[in-house]
């Protein structure tokens, strides 16, 4: 297992290098540069803009720019944001906690809902309740989360006043206090549900189908014949088997946490990585943009690895060496 992990980790290096070329070229293919947005007679003049282009190296040949970026990147220098004027690492660090908080809340909510709904639906397969849950899930799958976000804000925030329409916590609370954390949970609820809607729906259906399938298997029939109670059969015999494929999704969840947040965060004006990423694309803030894309790519690779490792752990039949 250790050997396998190491091998996979080593394999990531050429992978990342290739990705870096793609990321860099795509960033360069984007029309314009960050200074285009500063053309404004009240605020700057053409000489300044030209001077900055030179200073920032935008006039250098492409391969020189790429080399500078990669060498700095490897040494942990992600550059300075042209838009925010601070080191990218600082910037990402300051936003990361918010996104992690949102992502973890989203996963927890997803799992709670998925388990509750999936098990009910699986046990009472083809009943009205099952169809209702199924309908709900397909609805969740069908509605894009930017629409869901806006609709949720409209009803639950503006019409009912249950949840705030945006932000990460109530204005004026001191970080660290109990009130602060309560407020944070309150504020993260809606974006977390929206963010998790898609995976909740797919997990529920996945779990339901698996439970139905398992309930027809021989070992379940044997257990029934032995007189084991229905609840024990479902909660212990079947669930344990159905969990296996589900757990492996955890690896991919790591990816969804960060990636999926891009749109959701923007809608809920939640100050996390997602909003940062969108802003950096809009403003051609190359250093932030490329760092985040590299970071997302790394997460995908790690997510895949975690998924593969988890397979081996939960299902001893699968051996990885």
């Amino acid at each position: 297992m250790l050997k396998y992990t190491l091998r996979r980790l080593l394999g990531m290096i050429p992978m990342l290098l290739l990705i870096s070329i793609v990321v860099f070229s795509l960033a360069m293919f984007m029309p314009g540069d960050p200074l285009g947005g500063e053309i404004d007679p009240t605020n700057s003049d053409p000489e300044y803009i030209e001077e900055m282009r030179e200073k920032l190296g935008y006039n250098d040949p492409i391969h020189v720019q790429y080399w500078t970026w990669v060498t700095n990147f490897v040494q942990g220098d992600f550059g300075k944001s042209t838009q925010y004027k601070v080191q990218v690492s600082e910037l990402v660090k300051s936003r990361m906690l918010n996104t992690l908080f949102l992502g973890i809340s989203s996963i927890v909510i997803t799992y709670i809902f998925a388990f509750a709904m999936g098990m009910t639906a699986g046990r009472k397969a083809y009943s009205k309740l099952d169809h209702f849950i199924g309908g709900l899930n397909y609805f969740g799958l069908a509605v894009p989360n930017y629409i869901a976000g806006v609709v949720i804000i409209y009803f639950f925030s503006f019409k009912l006043g249950w949840i705030p329409f945006g932000g990460s916590h109530e204005i004026g609370l001191q970080p660290g206090t109990l009130e602060y954390w309560i407020s944070r949970f309150h504020y993260v609820l809606a974006p977390a549900i929206v963010l998790g809607a898609l995976s909740t729906a797919s997990y529920t259906q996945f779990l339901r189908n698996d439970i139905i399938e398992s309930s027809r298997k021989d070992f379940v029939r044997t257990a029934r014949a032995k007189g084991t109670s229905e609840s024990k059969i479902y909660n212990s015999h079947i669930l344990r088997n159905s969990l296996i494929p589900l757990i492996t999704f955890l690896g991919f969840d790591i990816v969804t946490i960060v990636n999926g947040a891009v749109i959701t965060e923007a809608i809920f004006t939640y100050p996390g990585i997602g909003t940062l990423f969108l802003n950096s694309v809009n403003n051609r803030d190359y250093s932030v943009l490329m760092t985040l894309t590299m970071f997302f790519s790394l997460l995908v690779l790690i997510g895949n690895l975690v998924a593969d490792l988890l397979y081996g752990i939960v299902d001893p039949r699968i051996r990885i060496d």
């Binding site: 947005g37 404004d40 003049d45 503006f158 004006t269 909003t275 940062l276 694309v281 790519s297």
Partner: protein
Amino acid sequence: MKKSYWLVAMMLVLAMFLAACGGDDSEEQGNEDEGTEEESSDESSEEGTEEESSEEGSEEASGDGEPVDGGTLIYAIDSEPSGPLDINFYRSSTEAEINQFVQEGFIEYDEEFNPIPHLAEWETEDQKTYNFTIKEGVKWHNGDELTVNDWVFAIETLAHPDYTGPRWANVQTIEGAADFREGNAEEISGLNVKSDYEIEITFDKARVNNLLNLWTNPMNQTAFEGIEVAEMEESAPSMTEIVGTGPFKVKNTSAGEYYELEKNEDYWQGEPHLDGLTVRVVANTSVIGALENGEVDMVPVHPTQGKEADALDNVSVITYPGVSYYYVGFKLGVFDKEAGEIVEDKEKYSNKKLRQALWHAIDREQWIETFFGGYGKTLNAPIPTSHWIAADNDDLKQYEYSTEKAKELLAEAGYEDTNGDGFVEDPEGNEFVLSFSHYDTGNPSFETRAQALVQQWEAVGVKSELEMVEVQNYYEMIENDDPAIEAFFGGWSVGADPDPTALWASDQLWNYPRFNNEEADQLLEDALDVEVVGDDKDKRKDVYTEWQKLVNEEAPALIIGELEEVYAVNERVGGLEYDVTGFNNAMNWFVTDGADK
């Protein structure tokens, strides 16, 4: 493994696509075209209202009589401030929305954009040397007393070779600033500190707009103590913990989310009524709902959202004339960046009558009504009417909407339909197709509004094609005179200095239509020449009027209209006064239920 590679590629592509969709509101900050829709001057002054503003103004009279102390006002902005907030380093109008409450300059502007004393008074004999006297006893938020040394500190920072901000242009006219920047001098020779409260500033030559161009904001020396100039921009006192002398001081910030300001009890003009003022970032999609719920008290809204906000019971809409305009430009030449002049003329749109015909062909009033909610009015020359140099509209050709007139002019110019296809051919008999470009931010209304212009041109028989160009590429193409750009849509937001030289003189990069007219250049030069106009404002205005008449007649660009600034304000807010330069000092604002909260 292969999958993850594609995932990344897909993601970037998707992200770009999404950015294009959602780009509208944040794009508005950055590009001048959209920047025109933003507030561009952060000075406030105390003057009444005008036109449609007045009825809204009186609606608020309920609170105007008796100001109430206490309470917090929530001021919303639609995209997050990104760079430094400090006035000496900030970049976009979004950051100005915050520092306008915290920092203030030595001079302000009246409703005609004439400089008026604020923290400083000045005297000048020859428009070359100015003597400034600043108010005594004004305290910074950190307790320091404001002296002219803070001003010198600001100017020396801006002139420092390591300075990373965009404001060198505001100090380069000071005598000796260039030497200082090149490292030939220890200090700027044009700055002569006479005492803590008096300073003499000498410019390299007499100009009529020396004062308007000068950087008149102080910079706190204690806050930036021990920070290298190169590092200043990203340091805390520049990014978030900004220090000023204004009515509010920074209490607490949550980057990208909200900026909590509290009143400056020792404000030199008196204690503000509000206990606090919070600037909050609210996504465009949520603004109307938040206003209705009372979660936001005051917000600059996009003209297209104005009507929607006006329909709310608890909200009134305030408008005041802005200093931005939109135009359709024609590429009349090619600019050489190295030489700094227009080196080549383009023939296609060189016929003046053709351009005038196209101007007559558009129904500008209807267009502004449809696409800007009527929050604007037509304009016939590239000077917003609020500027004191703006020519009397009666002196200008009106270019009223008339398809007849347009067709007449086309015929006079020799553009006639010779092959019977319903569209005109050029005088040589070749097919004539007007190629019109408009920027694309993903906002669907942009294509509609551009299409509306194209249809009106086709209605008078000019075959037209619309090209939507990705916004980030758009201005680069225009700036480089890319052959793909022929006629284009653009806009400028101009500041307190009314002088249009930077945008319309033939030796300027930002003269996008490449308008090349010796007479016009001469007029612009004269208007700034102390020898010609001295300090006689009427004389200056006459020269500018001549220039506007010329541009109006020559029509290098079809000026469409100027936009108003539109604000939605909750009824509980009182004490607001506004004019073209913006709102009055926030120290006078209050909320009617302030005491209860």
